[in-house]
Amino acid sequence: MDSINPLTLFFAAIFTNNILLTNFLGLCPFLSMSRQKKSALGMGAAVVFVMASTTALNNLVFYKILVPLGMEHFRFIVFIVVIAAFVQLVEMAVERFFPALYFVLGIFLPLITVNCAIFGASLFMVIRKYDFVQSLAYGAGSGIGWMLAIIAISAIREKLQKTAKLPRGLEGPAITLIITGLLALAFLAFSGMIRVQ
């Protein structure tokens, strides 16, 4: 397969292959943090940053350390450890040097250390054999796609909260999952425009 242009990959990751709406990854923070637009934005921004940097970082770790040693099968453990340590480091640095940013973003950082979307992006990067630049583009695109989805849902949920009278059983996560499904259907319209695999 011909190597895909990083820019194309970037947009594909946002729209046609949105990690949340086509792969349904990272649903846990998606459900819990989508109650308010403000926290959704903070969470989304944190995901963009972490996903872009860890996918690129894991690309280096995989091709420079694991492949030469013939230890590709250990990527699950290694990726998780790398992500966790990286997020910790970033959190400490942000807290120390950018207190204002910390109070907006930093508190979300520990929440996404174990987010499956972040880990998923790193694994896709390996399966799809992306190089470093592609990984960066893919990670950033996926993060932005995730952020778009959570902002859209939080806006809808805020509106629902004000106007809709829901049956009790449908409140909260239930209606959110249904709306997410509808949103995913809408995003299906993009599918097939770009092949990423």
């Binding site: 770790v61 350390i65 250990f74 340590a85 910790q88 480091l89 400490m92 640095a93 040097f97 207190p99």
Partner: protein
């Protein structure tokens, strides 16, 4: 085989490098240096920044209540952070009412010390400390009550309390108990004596702490106590005062009286002190002397089990009967009651019948 060893080594290596990085970051990035904490605008602490306020205060011997141990779930550790706390975190908002928001109340386990802080904590919490004390004096006041004077060992330490409050006294393990035990005892000394406190310890059948004090404790022994605690203490007002005590319940009353003597208060005060027999009375000399030193004070001892042919000239009834007899209905009084729970409860009933407002009745039940 070699593949296995290499794998283990590589994974450990990666883990070690990352751990080292984090450790370095913790050392150099998360280093906030020394921070000042100004408490209630008067006391200043210097602590190493970077850890939650709750734990830093704990290290300095200021114990903010906390049940969850700093996880932000029990919300007991609320303090007012006036300056330097940063914005309220989402982890705190569920536990704070709108009024608390206004007053800058925060969960101290969630406030990380990054810079100088100014905080406000209730005075009582601030005063609660653990003291090493030495038995200074031990005497038999009656066949069943020991007077115990404890001196605070550390030179620079002293106890600050309100007359009427209690401390917890801890005794080491001995043949009746396998772990150190502690019990609450009201202080009979008054606040101006801040280096020595006086307790009255009644002998309780099979009581672990009271038996230890009565049979094992010697002058010179060292013990541990914590305090002060309690909401039974002297309140300022211009109403007359009625005090009711039985047995060791005299302790907090003595503290209040000694405080009143020191301050030369002129409130009309009556003490009903009830015991069974004459030999159960104690502090007699001091109480009689107090009547001279405080002309507005009247001491009324009363015996409930005195034989008819005894020479006792005072009252012969229970304290409850004295209230019935001597206190007019609807009197404007502050009432302080201290003693056994049964005695306190029956006094409360009578006072209610006499239409004495319950908000002016303070009591401490000695279990």
């Amino acid at each position: 085989m070699s593949q296995l060893i290499i794998s283990v080594l590589v994974i450990s290596g990666i883990g070690a490098v990352l751990a080292l990085l984090l450790e370095l970051a913790d050392r150099f990035i998360a280093d906030y240096g020394e921070c000042k904490i100004l408490i209630n605008q008067e006391k200043e602490l210097i602590v190493q920044g970077g850890s939650p306020l709750l734990f830093s205060l704990q290290d300095e011997g200021i114990f903010i209540p906390s049940a969850c141990g700093g996880k932000g779930t029990c919300a007991y550790c609320k303090v007012k952070v006036l300056e330097g706390g940063g914005p309220v975190l989402p982890t705190e908002t569920p536990y704070l009412s709108p009024e608390e928001f206004e007053e800058n109340v925060r969960l101290s386990c969630q406030v990380k010390i990054r810079n100088d802080l100014s905080i406000e904590i209730p005075e009582e919490l601030f005063l609660i400390k653990e003291f090493k004390v030495q038995v200074d004096h031990l005497e038999d006041l009656t066949p069943y009550i020991k007077g115990l004077t404890l001196a605070i060992v550390e030179q620079e330490e002293s106890i600050t309390f309100k007359p009427g409050q209690y401390i917890q006294l801890e005794i080491p393990k001995y043949k009746l108990s396998s772990v150190p035990e502690f019990r609450a005892f009201s202080m009979a000394s008054f606040p101006d004596e801040s280096k020595k406190i006086e307790l009255y310890v009644g002998l309780v059948e099979k009581g672990i702490v009271s038996t230890y004090v009565h049979d094992f404790l010697k002058e010179g022994d060292e013990l541990v106590m914590r305090g002060p605690f309690g909401d039974f203490f002297y309140r300022e007002s211009d109403r007359d005062i009625l005090m009711i005590a039985t047995g060791t319940g005299l302790a907090p009353i003595m503290s209040i009286l000694r405080h009143m003597r020191k301050e030369q208060m002129q409130r009309k005060t009556t003490l009903f002190f009830g015991t069974r027999t004459e030999e159960d009375l104690y502090c007699e000399a001091e109480l009689k002397g107090l009547q001279k030193e405080l002309p507005t004070f009247t001491y009324v001892p009363t015996l409930s089990r005195v034989s008819d042919n005894s020479s006792w000239k005072g009252e012969r009834s229970r304290v409850t009967a004295l209230i019935e007899k001597k206190i007019p209905e609807g009197s404007e009084l502050d009432v302080y009651i201290c003693g056994s729970p049964e005695m306190v409860d029956s006094c409360l009933l009578i006072l209610e019948k006499k239409a004495i407002p319950s908000e002016h009745v303070y009591f401490d039940k000695f279990d």
